[in-house]
């Protein structure tokens, strides 16, 4: 029983550590391949700070040679119409 408890405690500890590192902020990623094109949403990343969000966006959405890529934090978006 002791070992099961110890194992459960360890698992809880591991989960706690992982939860402590969970990213909670969503960033929408917009990019364009040509200057004459508008920016369009290509996906999103989760990161707690803007620097890591930039690193993640660059590495995840690297399928094209973008001329521009920007991030918008989801919590900065103001909803005007919601149905």
């Amino acid at each position: 029983m002791t070992s099961i408890k110890a194992g459960a405690a360890q698992a809880t500890g591991e989960r706690g550590r992982r939860e402590a590192l969970n990213e909670s902020r969503v960033w929408h990623v917009f990019a364009r391949r040509k200057y004459e094109e508008p920016l369009h949403e290509i996906g999103n990343v989760m990161a707690d700070d803007v620097e890591l969000a930039q690193v993640y966006a660059r590495s995840i959405y690297d399928e094209f040679s973008w001329v521009e890529m920007v991030l918008v934090p989801r919590d900065a978006i103001v909803t005007v119409i919601a149905s």
Partner: protein, 252 residues
């Protein structure tokens, strides 16, 4: 057609060490491409792995241009090379994600400091590569800084594990630049291959990382001379076990 070989043992030594460190960092990073704490971090780890192996791949071929490399051609190719002039910290797999973060933050930033000092190098192949590497490493440093902050601010065991990783790598990283009278760095400096001697390189390096560590209240053995505004190691480095050719500790 015979080409003229470069005869410069000091430069050959440093290029070998840079290539071995980059190659081994890439291999260690690769292990974390599917083991990082978050999917985004894993993808970034994969991209950084590619970058590091790419840096190594541009450096190893230069060794073939040196007279010092002709004695044993098998040492010029990472696939057949048996010499390992990377830091002893990289001898084994990382113990955890904090080792990845520490390597990126401390060691890779130290190597970048060297490449920055070689951006106007009199040795053209290094000059070209340095500029490209410095450019790519900006993103790596953003990743390093972000993760050092995250792990430090998580507190508890997470913070303690990060600090342990930083401490294990600290001295050996500072040693890599060599002692101030390092004959290898002295020759590179005198020949215009780099623009600074070891103490100045260490100062430039510490100037980059110390504001972050200070902000996070992470204690490391450094000193700051308020008069000269220069950073330096706060305690003597383990030169007695450091090898000038392999540029790693555990050599004696």
């Amino acid at each position: 057609m015979a080409t003229t070989l470069v005869d410069n043992a000091a430069l050959f030594t440093i290029l070998s060490s840079l290539a071995d460190n980059k190659q081994t960092i890439g291999r260690r990073y690769a292990f974390w491409c599917n083991g990082a704490p978050a999917l985004e971090a894993a993808v970034a780890a994969a991209a950084m792995t590619q970058d590091e192996l790419g840096h190594a791949r541009t450096l190893y071929p230069l060794l073939a241009d040196f007279a010092q490399g002709q004695a044993d051609l098998s040492q010029l190719d990472p696939m057949t090379r048996t010499l390992h002039h990377h830091l002893s910290y990289l001898d084994h797999d990382f113990r955890g994600w904090s080792d990845f973060v520490a390597t990126n933050f401390l060691l890779d930033t130290a190597l970048t400091t060297f490449f920055e000092a070689a951006q106007n190098s009199s040795y053209e192949p290094l000059r070209q590569r340095s500029r490209k590497i410095v450019q790519e490493e900006r993103v790596h440093f953003m990743h390093a800084e972000g993760w050092v902050r995250r792990l430090a601010k998580a507190g508890g065991a997470v913070r303690a594990t990060l600090i342990a990783s930083l401490q294990r790598l600290w001295d050996e990283t500072l040693c890599w630049f060599g002692p101030q009278d390092d004959p290898i760095m002295l020759r590179l400096y005198n020949e215009g291959i780099i623009d600074a001697m070891p103490d100045e390189l260490r100062h430039r390096y510490l100037r980059k990382i110390m504001p972050i560590l200070n902000e996070l209240n992470i204690d490391v053995p450094v000193a700051f001379d308020a008069t000269t505004k220069r950073w330096m190691p706060g305690q003597s480095l383990p030169w007695e076990t450091w090898g000038v050719l392999a540029r790693r500790t555990g050599e004696t």
